[in-house]
């Protein structure tokens, strides 16, 4: 690991003031320390923000304001989250392990990096880690990589088929959460799922944030009406990243038609994937298995599976249909 300087910020303003080229913010360190040990991240200065923005979870409007330093386990154990945002509690609890969730912060969870095996291996080329070096995943091990919105079709120096690994971010995308950011150019609010970006020809940029931008809080609007849940398909029953996951909200009227729905997929793209086409296809339609299948098909018609991850298209379709059926009143 490359030597670095460590400082602990007092508050958000202090953190931004201490930030300079070559620095990185440190949350719980569960992703960053790992990547530093692998040589993937090489900051020369760490600004510890794990106690900045504190561990507040407060009412905000009709929703909730969650400090960026809140630990993942405290978010999932919070009575209001369990009661009003069960999809979010379940998504957080589906991620990592009890130990990691105790350490991991909300800000760090949103900004964790892809688990693409080539990204984590500095002996391999990777456009995300080293822009222009190529993407061995396109022809290599992409079993658990993207089927939607990737850039495998671009020239070799721009390709990237990585997925974003966060479970929590998928639920936040379905909930229209607002990410509060403060940086060298002032403060702003970034709506989910707009925090993360598709690779395009700049796969080294995971998000729309700029250097020095600090996430200070995540604001949840009031929960949408209807029943909701989070489901995650993985290779073992626990403590594994998603192959495909789904955050779903379904609101069915007395006449049996869908009044509203929210669908966000995880494990399929460079961002949490809000399935807006499926949502549109379903709204106003009868809440039946046939319509659920049709809506899932409308979304996945866009999929561009790679030679060895076509199974994800089937998995995503079946997951959408099964989860919506489970949410029927």
């Amino acid at each position: 690991m490359k030597p670095f300087e460590y400082t602990r910020a007092r508050d958000a303003g202090d953190a931004v003031a201490r930030f300079r080229a070559g620095a990185m913010y440190l949350g719980g360190g569960t992703n960053l320390v790992d990547l530093m040990r692998l040589g993937v991240a090489e900051p020369d200065h760490l600004v510890d923000v794990s106690r900045v923005g504190g561990d507040r979870i407060e009412p905000g409007g009709d929703g909730l304001l969650i400090g960026a330093g809140v630990r993942n386990s405290d978010l999932a154990a919070h009575p209001v989250v369990r009661e009003r945002y069960p999809m979010l509690a379940r998504a957080v609890l589906a991620g990592a392990s009890g130990q990691v969730r105790n350490m991991a912060t909300i800000g760090g969870n949103l900004l964790q990096r892809t688990r693409c095996p080539y990204f984590q291996d500095v002996s391999k080329p990777c456009n995300k880690r080293q822009p222009g070096s190529g993407c061995p995943a396109v022809a290599g091990d992409h079993r658990n990589l993207a089927i939607l919105g990737h850039s495998a079709g671009l020239e070799a120096a721009a390709q990237c088929v990585a997925t974003h690994p966060s479970d929590m971010a998928v639920a936040l995308a379905a909930l229209d959460a607002q990410v509060h950011v403060t940086g060298p150019d002032g403060s702003r609010v970034v709506p989910m799922p707009g925090l993360h970006r598709l690779p395009g020809d700049e796969p080294d940029r995971d998000t729309v944030l700029r250097p020095g931008d600090l996430i200070t809080a995540v604001e949840l609007p009031p929960p949408p009406p209807g029943r909701s849940t989070y489901r995650k398909v993985r290779e073992r029953a626990s403590f594994a990243f998603a192959l495909v996951s789904l955050a779903a909200v379904l609101d069915v009227g007395r006449d049996g038609t869908v009044r509203g729905c929210r669908l966000a997929l995880g494990g399929v793209a460079h961002t949490p994937w809000r399935a807006a086409r499926a949502e549109r296809a379903l709204t106003g339609a009868p809440a039946t298995a046939e319509e659920f299948t049709r809506a899932a098909g409308a979304e996945l018609a866009e999929a561009q599976p790679l030679p060895r991850n076509g199974y994800k298209v089937t998995l995503a379709r079946n997951l959408i249909v099964a989860t919506l059926q489970e949410l029927l009143p």
């Binding site: 690991m1 670095f4 440190l26 320390v33 379940r90 392990s97 105790n102 350490m103 626990s238």
Partner: protein, 179 residues
């Protein structure tokens, strides 16, 4: 380099540490507390689990410099006044280990887990605090791998302690030893 003051198993230590050092290496290399094990060094196995301010954490991903002011309990600090911690006694009673390499992490993880409030991902009703069934214990302990496959007896041992003590008592017991 950086200065850090930590209490470990009740004893305060002030050390000048390399900023790259993990809490795990600080415990093992600087304080000679080799009960805490290094398995993967990437957060994936749980062998290095300790309690930081009463909460379980993987010490391999915790930077030592970032722990200034923390109160750490390792497996060496679980037994109090010469008496085994109830979890240690239960692990022996239930034969919950073979090589023993994962055991310190399993013990610290279980001690932390028994004090944790709230549901897990397998809990049906998220608003209730569920009893610790075998399925709940398995899910909550999934961050601790055992290459010897002693899982069945590990779950049974933790189940015994959960049934005997109750989660609240365990939380006090653990924080008690940490002070």
């Amino acid at each position: 380099m950086g200065d850090v003051t930590v209490r470990v198993n009740g004893t305060p230590h002030s050390l000048d540490v390399d900023s790259r050092m993990s809490l795990l290496d600080l415990l093992r290399e600087r304080l000679g507390l080799t009960g805490t094990k290094k398995g993967c060094d990437h957060g994936q196995c749980g062998a290095c689990t300790v309690l930081i301010d009463g909460r379980r954490a993987v010490s391999c991903l915790a930077l030592a410099v970032a722990q200034d002011g923390a109160d750490v309990t390792t497996v060496e600090g679980l037994a109090a006044d010469g008496a085994l911690h109830p979890l240690q006694a239960a692990f022996i009673e239930r034969d919950a280990f073979q090589c023993g390499y994962c055991t310190p992490g399993q013990l610290c993880s279980a001690a932390g887990m028994l004090g944790e409030a709230g549901p897990s991902v397998v809990t049906e009703d998220l608003t209730a605090d569920p009893p610790l069934s075998a399925a709940e214990i398995r899910e909550r302990m999934s961050g601790n791998l055992c290459r010897c496959g002693a899982y069945v007896n590990i779950v049974a041992a933790i189940g015994d302690v959960a049934a005997a003590g109750g989660a609240a008592d365990m939380a006090t017991a653990v924080t008690g030893t940490a002070r």
